[in-house]
Amino acid sequence: MRLKVDTEKCTECGRCTTICSLTKVGRIQPLAARIRITRRWPETPLIAVCRFEDCLGNPCIESCPFDAIRIINGKVEIIEDECQGCAECVAVCPYGAIKMNDQSQKAFKCDLCGGSPACVAECVTGAIIWVEEA
């Protein structure tokens, strides 16, 4: 299973970011969301989120000097306790999907909610879907 995004269908409502933050940090705080929508009017927006299977070579793993990014159960994960806050991974991510927490100075990104992404359920236009194959 993988996330698939279709920017043509995105209306930029941001429900994905709202619900992501509620799921991940227990309150509504789009800055803490693991997905980000960037407006480019009049054209379609950018949707930045970790794309796992679609990502060629997972450069974030290579980039981490502390080996804090590893593949666990088939998914790339940032081990928060081991992250030293160097932000190398933020720079190399081809999807712009890794962010830094300003307070803790740790990197964070989407973990697919353990296989049932909250953002997908919230997207009414099908701009983010959860599919078997690409």
């Binding site: 209306t11 941001g14 709202t18 509620l22 509504i28 789009p30 009017w41 009049p42 300003d102």
Partner: protein
């Protein structure tokens, strides 16, 4: 805090370029937020007789308990001030993303007081306020100003700005936030009078909820209600979801209620060309939403400009399809889109400016007005675009028209007041009182001038009730006004209440802010706010004779073939107004009686 309200408001003294965080007092909290906070604060702090463009006026910008949460259709923020257009109290709203960002600053609103001695941009970072020199953006359009601020101070800022019209105190000047507009009543001129060109917010605080699980359950249920409505062929909001707010054009046309050529006609031969469906079919279209909204009634279109160029805009929205379309006999969707865009550049309310231009065109037809550069003819693109520019610049006849349709009619004379389609100098929204009696009563009795937000439009236009009947309309209008005032404390989009059972509101409020009230309390709050507004307007000198439509509505039959109604019967109209006052607990002159104010818990505001 334990809920969605921060109980903090920033007070900005523009005169001193200073600010302080103000704790919300207990007696204000029962007003929930949004329009409730704004109205109570303005009534308590601003003398109704002040000049709206003087430093004594205040601008109160607020959000509510559902702003910035996951509750769908709660993107809006509210401005309350004294209107320079109408002279009444004003509340106006913009959607988009600004409301959520204000909440994320860890505040429930901002109050602008006094006036700066030179032009400023106000930056608000959480609760830290700074005043920046606005010289580089003076004279810029609203989008240009907003882009400049984002480039200079950071793309994360959400902005509110005024255009040249606000700088020049055009009485119909609006405030813009990324194309969303605090449109009605000239709040842009008030910000201009305080010499604030723009305000930008950037917040990291997020929003808390009193009961996350219950709130999540409510949102899920509400989303399902909305999803059903959006999927329904016959739901109005469903049509807006598929074709934007211009989806209802054919319905309004078929009912002979599409105000055309300064409300002389009730149907427009080119209505299809400027409908939402046509824009969707013939123009590049992208669906866009306000914060958290699954309806996505917003539309971005690309269009051709009169000089052969290409441009794009969000909209036009339905009300603008009327004001800059049918009302001006303008059936060219490109010209309409460009005119809409130009109102954004100058920063004016597309409704009142459209009505003012249609008034000017009829004045020209009757030989009462002319212009050295423009033909002032219905449907003439150069005249439409040219007058928007002249009003925005206060240039030539634009300086007279910038005062609003009623004030301009007074200056122009020749009986022109009879066909200035306004109430209290605010231009008619897209509906015809001669075809929709209840909507007419709502226009006349609105506390902010000809207002469609609290009118029984849906019931009348869809034929749920007889649109030409006077029976029960007073009761219907009162109920609409109270309900809408109540939901504007939260602040709900008007479309939310179209779909969502009212029983949701007390539950939402409890789960978000922790405040308990039942549905009757909630309605009573709306009524309490309505009465406070009315008291302000009485203090400003308004009376029964101001709750009236222009003479055209009582005297001039609608032309064209579609409308069986002739005119509003003046005697019946006055009887309906008396009935309305009586239902409100007001006397014949519209003065709220002690018993009513006592019942609403505001007896201390009684002024015999």
């Amino acid at each position: 805090m334990s809920g969605s309200m921060y109980d903090r408001i920033i007070r900005i003294d523009c005169s001193k370029n200073s600010s302080r965080v103000w704790e919300v007092p207990e007696d204000l909290k029962s007003y929930l937020g949004g329009m409730g906070y704004g109205t109570k604060l303005l009534v308590d702090e601003v003398d109704p007789t002040v000049d709206a463009l003087s430093p004594d006026n205040k601008i109160i910008l607020t959000v509510g308990p559902l702003t910035g949460t996951s509750a769908p259709l709660h993107a809006q923020s509210c401005i309350v001030t004294k209107s320079p257009l109408t002279g009444t109290i004003l509340n106006c709203y913009a959607g988009g993303f600004i409301g959520a960002e204000i909440k994320y600053c860890g505040i429930d609103g901002v109050i602008f007081e006094g006036a700066s001695s030179d032009w400023k941009i106000v930056l608000i970072d959480n609760d830290k306020v700074s005043f920046e020199n606005a010289d580089p953006v003076m004279g810029m359009g609203t989008e240009e100003t907003e882009n400049w601020i984002k480039n200079r101070y950071g793309v994360d800022y959400k902005t509110i700005s005024i255009g040249r019209a606000g700088e020049k105190h055009v009485r119909m000047a609006a405030l813009f936030s990324e194309t969303r507009t605090y449109g009605r009543g000239g709040a842009g001129a008030v910000l201009g009078s305080k010499k604030i060109k723009a305000v930008a917010f950037r917040g990291t605080c997020g929003a808390d909820l009193a009961d996350v699980d219950e709130f999540t359950r409510l949102v899920k249920e509400n989303m399902s209600v909305i999803s059903d409505a959006c999927g329904s062929e016959y739901s109005l909001v469903g049509m807006f979801s598929r074709f934007g707010t211009g989806a209802g054009m054919a319905l309004v046309q078929s009912r002979g209620a599409l105000a055309t050529r300064n409300s002389q006609f009730g149907s427009f031969e080119s209505s299809e060309a400027i409908s939402g469906q046509n824009y969707e079919k013939d123009f590049y279209t992208r669906w866009v939403s306000c914060y958290g909204c699954p309806v996505h009634c917003g539309r971005i279109h690309k269009f051709s400009t009169h000089d052969g160029g290409q441009s794009w805009a969000r909209g036009p929205e339905y009300e603008t399809m009327y004001s800059l379309g049918s009302q001006l006999n303008n059936g060219d969707p490109d010209v309409l889109a460009e005119a809409n865009r130009l109102t954004e550049v100058y920063g004016v309310d597309s409704l009142t400016i459209g009505v003012t231009i249609s008034f000017a065109f009829e004045c020209a037809e009757k030989g009462l007005l002319s212009d050295p550069d423009l033909k002032l003819e219905f449907g003439d693109p150069a005249s439409i675009l040219g007058l928007i520019r002249k009003i925005g610049e206060r240039e030539g006849i634009g300086n007279i028209l910038a005062e609003g349709p009623a004030r301009a009619a007074k200056e122009i004379g020749g009986g022109s007041s009879d066909f200035a389609m306004q109430v209290k100098n605010s231009g008619f929204a897209a509906w015809m009182p001669r075809r929709m009696v209840g909507t007419g009563l709502a226009f006349a009795t609105s506390n902010r001038g000809a207002c469609h937000k609290r009118a029984p439009i849906g019931a009348e236009i869809t034929g749920q009730v007889d649109m030409l009947s006077f029976v029960d309309k007073a009761q219907m209008v009162k109920k609409n006004q109270d309900v809408v005032n109540a939901i504007f404390t939260l602040i709900s989009c008007r479309f939310h209440e179209f779909m969502t059972p009212h029983e949701f509101y007390p539950d939402y409020i409890k789960a978000a802010s922790g405040i308990s009230l039942d549905l009757d309390d909630f309605y009573a709050l709306g009524e309490r706010i309505w009465n406070l507004e009315k008291l302000f307007n009485l203090g400003a000198g308004f009376g029964r004779s101001d709750d009236i439509l222009p003479a055209r509505c009582y005297n001039d039959p609608i032309k064209g073939d579609s409308s069986e109604s002739s005119v509003l019967d003046y005697g019946k109209w006055q009887d309906m107004l008396t009935e309305y006052y009586s239902l409100r607990g007001w006397d014949y002159n519209g003065i709220p009686q002690k018993a009513k104010l006592d019942a609403l818990g505001i007896g201390n505001y009684f002024r015999g």
